[in-house]
């Protein structure tokens, strides 16, 4: 089912006889648990930017609008989506899907996540009611923040039909300080020093393949030059990359170019100093990857086996963090905890919450949790 507008979508929901696979471009079907549903409800046909006010830093688009379209319109006005969502999932990715999965790129560490810039959401709940939460202004604490609750809920509570985002001017210039790092621990130290500096580092990543840590500065050109020089000053072997090289480098980090195709992929979020421990603890299972967010985010890949998955879970737990199974064969995704299970009290709350939004349990059932 590919409704053309909100009313049609609401009617389809009301008429639905059984579970629906809710999606935009369908690019995240291989992420988290497989959804067994008789029908697919896609927002892909509900497309288009409905409001863009550059001087107010606000953009609103229908859920099925492709990320690439939004980014090109923004770029034409020298602006950007702050959280820098990865293009890991291919060109069909929609803004609804990006918000529903709350996946952010390198800039999350300084600028915040997708969820930090969702100003408003229109959605249809499981009873087919059209609801509007949040709004189009930059600050809003009116009532419970259900826009935040829907962001990152993978379509399990309601079907988003339109989202409003805060956007920002793209920086005039970008530069990168490259620091050799013998291992992950050394890299985290370099990144902690950068993120703990007064220079507003907007990206801090480590690629084991290169044995280098990268610190990004985005600002006016004179500031980029000054700040990169300050960060590199006195650091042995540090180099500074210019704008074009930097853009290519950070696009690769954002889109996980370093991960080999074909393998299972995980994301792990821990406090930054726990990042190296995670890399170490998954190595025995043939899992490896790279660090973003100063060491706090690990993109990992390895064999699509239960053993590898358990190793990732144990390592994330060891760092008091969380994991997402981002890509893997259906059998694996159906069999394991694709995200951490909740504590019993929270699980009970969540089940009651789902029932309040989707009383019939028809939206992406079991997408996130097995029960």
């Amino acid at each position: 089912m590919t409704p053309r507008d909100e009313e049609e979508l609401a009617a389809m929901v009301r008429a639905a006889a059984g579970p629906l696979r809710v999606q935009g471009g369908g690019t995240k079907a291989d992420m988290l648990r497989p959804v067994r549903a008789a029908a697919v409800l896609s927002t892909a046909a509900m497309s288009g930017i409905t409001l863009y006010s550059p001087s107010e830093l606000v953009l609103r688009a229908r859920a099925g609008t492709r990320l690439a379209e939004i980014e090109s319109v923004l770029a034409a006005h020298g602006q950007q989506i702050i959280a820098e969502p990865p293009r890991f999932f291919g060109p069909a990715q929609t803004i609804g899907g990006v918000v529903a999965s709350n996946i952010s790129g390198p800039r999350r560490i300084g600028g915040g996540a997708m969820r930090d810039h969702v100003l408003g959401v229109r959605a249809v709940n499981g009873s087919g009611e059209i609801l509007n939460f949040g709004g189009r202004v930059l600050k809003n604490v009116t009532g419970l923040d259900l826009a935040k609750l829907l962001t990152g809920s993978f379509g399990t509570l309601a079907v988003m039909t339109e989202v409003t985002l805060k956007v920002l001017p793209a920086a005039e210039a970008v530069g990168t300080v490259v620091v050799p790092a013998a291992d992950a621990r050394a890299a985290v130290e370099v990144m902690a020093a950068g993120l703990g500096s007064p220079f507003s580092v907007s990206g801090a990543a480590y690629l084991p393949r290169d044995a280098r840590a990268y610190l990004r500065i985005e600002d006016f050109a004179e500031s980029v030059a000054y700040r990169c020089a300050k960060l590199a000053g006195g650091v042995a072997g540090a180099e500074i990359l210019g704008g074009e090289e930097s853009k290519a480098l950070w696009a690769g980090i954002r889109d996980c170019a370093a991960l080999p195709p074909g393998e299972a992929v995980w994301r792990v979020s821990v406090r930054p100093s726990a990042g190296p421990g995670v890399l170490r603890d998954v190595a025995f299972a043939g899992v490896s990857g790279f660090m973003d967010w100063g060491g706090g985010l690990l993109w990992l890949s390895g064999p699509a086996t239960r053993a590898a998955h358990e190793a990732v879970c144990a390592a994330a737990r060891g760092g008091a963090g969380v994991w997402w199974l981002m890509r893997g064969p259906e059998a694996l995704r159906a069999a394991v905890e694709v995200i951490p299970p909740e504590a019993p009290a929270l699980a009970a709350l969540r089940r009651r919450m789902t029932a309040k939004f989707d009383p019939r349990g028809i939206f992406n059932p079991l997408k996130m949790w097995a029960a």
Partner: protein, 473 residues
């Protein structure tokens, strides 16, 4: 005086007052229970004194265990509970009900952990906002959200209201600066939400609880992100001949690609009140004043200020001045942050609105407010966060004059309705509280309110936590 309808107290609770207090004394030390009528009186209100109600009792827990015991006891007894921090809410967030127990978290005021390599701090809810920054300032760090009441307001309340501040244009509001919470539900269950890492796997409970105004649980621990402070910061003042011109200048600054760390607006009455308090050198001849702050090294500040001056020049400023020293910057901010209280110098009472509008509608909305001010015969001072359209019209009235408050209340409602009609919202950072409760219908449809109520139901099925706030009765 109190035009706002209140929830009727439950007679069976009032009748059992002695028993309930005895029960509280069984689970808490004597020093943690306040039950004398004289001593309950100062707890009848917060920073919105127009609404007042003496509670049944006040308890001041000292740790999470006591919070759990209190909530379990109150849940079992069917007693309503009102969480309270510093009592600085401008929307009546801590207003008691006659049959309620106020849970004051002021004694839970310890900083539990500071971690610089991972850039977070774990604090109890009774730590003041500025208390976090003071604890980490020696290491060069700060906690970004900075509501005007930051000296006094507490982190628990900041999370409850999702507080913003002057610098949230760059650094975001409370929700953007949190990593984890410990929340005790009305059933007495302790939930750990988030942690020390970024982003939730599963639902964004952290985001849901932030700004939930004590509807979902009581906080016992808050993990916040701390940031390294920039090399320096400087404020500049630009005075303009009218509100409209200043508003146009704001739009021009944003459009230029500069996002100043703060971009604040004051109109003439506000300029005069604040100058009397802070002696910051605000231009008394201006009709509207922008306070613009930039960050970075001296050279970077100079460069950004140069760009900003060029933009301001296009709007024929009546005065422009850059702070020369840290003391001058501090004085500029002292005036702005004490603005609400400073209005106490020119009026015995005020109502502080908190509506948000699309910034493109600034001039038009201010003009309408001016007209309403004349219609209602009440003066208004405008102080607000111009960069994000968050207005704080302060409606001045005299509570000792009988009709004055009712007019002020109607005036306020009309301003907020105007904000919603202009595409904005009722509250940007102060919360709905009791004050804007009935106006929620202006912004939300019945179905939307029903969905919010359903979420409240999930956490607090008997509606014992901070009832008669947020949702229209």
């Amino acid at each position: 005086m109190r035009a706002m309808k209140q929830l009727d107290p439950k007679p069976e609770i009032l009748a059992r007052r002695g028993e309930i207090i005895a029960g509280l004394l069984r689970i808490l030390p004597k020093r943690a229970v306040i039950a004398e009528a004289v001593s309950l009186k100062p707890y009848e209100t917060d920073a919105l004194t127009a609404y007042r109600q003496v509670p049944l009792a006040v308890v001041l827990p000292e740790d999470e265990g006591q919070v759990v015991d209190i909530l379990k006891f109150c849940a079992a007894e069917g007693v309503r509970v009102i969480p309270r921090g510093a009592g600085t809410s401008l929307s009546g967030g801590a207003l008691p009900l006659a049959d309620s127990v106020v849970v004051g978290l002021m004694r839970m005021n310890r900083i539990l952990e500071v971690n610089y390599p991972d850039r977070y701090a774990v604090v109890q809810p009774g730590v003041t906002n500025i208390g976090i920054t003071r604890a980490v300032a020696d290491a060069g760090y700060f906690y970004a959200p900075d509501p005007s009441s930051q000296l006094a307001c507490m982190v628990g309340g900041n999370v409850g209201m999702n507080s913003g501040g002057a610098h949230c244009l760059k650094y975001g509001v409370t929700a953007n600066n949190l990593l984890g919470l410990r929340l005790v539900t009305m059933a007495g269950e302790v939930l750990e939400l988030g942690g020390t890492h970024c982003d939730a796997a599963g639902y964004d409970w952290l985001g849901l609880v932030t700004g939930s105004e004590g509807q979902l649980g009581i906080l016992t621990e808050v993990t916040v992100r701390i940031l390294r402070a920039p090399e320096g910061a400087r404020a500049m003042l630009a005075g303009f001949a009218s509100n409209e011109v200043a508003g146009e200048c704001v739009a021009a600054i944003i459009a230029s690609g500069i996002i100043p760390v703060a971009l604040e607006f004051m109109d003439r009455p506000a300029i005069h009140a604040c100058e009397a308090f802070a002696h910051a050198g605000y231009p008394l001849e201006a009709q509207a004043l922008l306070i613009i702050e930039v960050e970075g090294s001296e050279d970077e500040q100079d460069a950004t200020l140069r760009r900003l001056r060029e933009i301001c020049e296009r709007f024929a400023p009546v005065s422009m001045r850059v702070a020369r020293t840290d003391e001058e910057s501090a004085a500029i901010w002292k005036g702005r942050k004490g603005a609400f209280g400073a209005v106490g110098r020119i009026s015995p009472d005020y109502l502080c609105m908190d509506g948000v509008i699309p910034t493109s509608r600034l001039g038009e909305v201010l003009r309408r407010i001016e007209e309403m001010s004349e219609d209602y015969g009440l003066k208004v001072a405008n102080i607000f966060h111009a960069g994000d359209g968050n207005l704080h019209p302060l409606i001045m009235y005299d509570a000792n004059e009988p009709s004055s408050f009712a007019r002020a209340e109607r005036f306020g409602a009309e301003i907020l309705t105007l904000c919603v009609e202009a595409g904005g919202c009722l509250t940007g950072e102060h919360g709905v509280g009791v004050e804007k409760r009935e106006l929620m219908r202006v912004q939300f449809s019945p179905g939307e309110l029903e969905q919010m109520r359903a979420v409240k139901d999930v956490f607090d099925p008997h509606w014992l936590l901070n009832p008669a706030k947020v949702f229209p009765l």
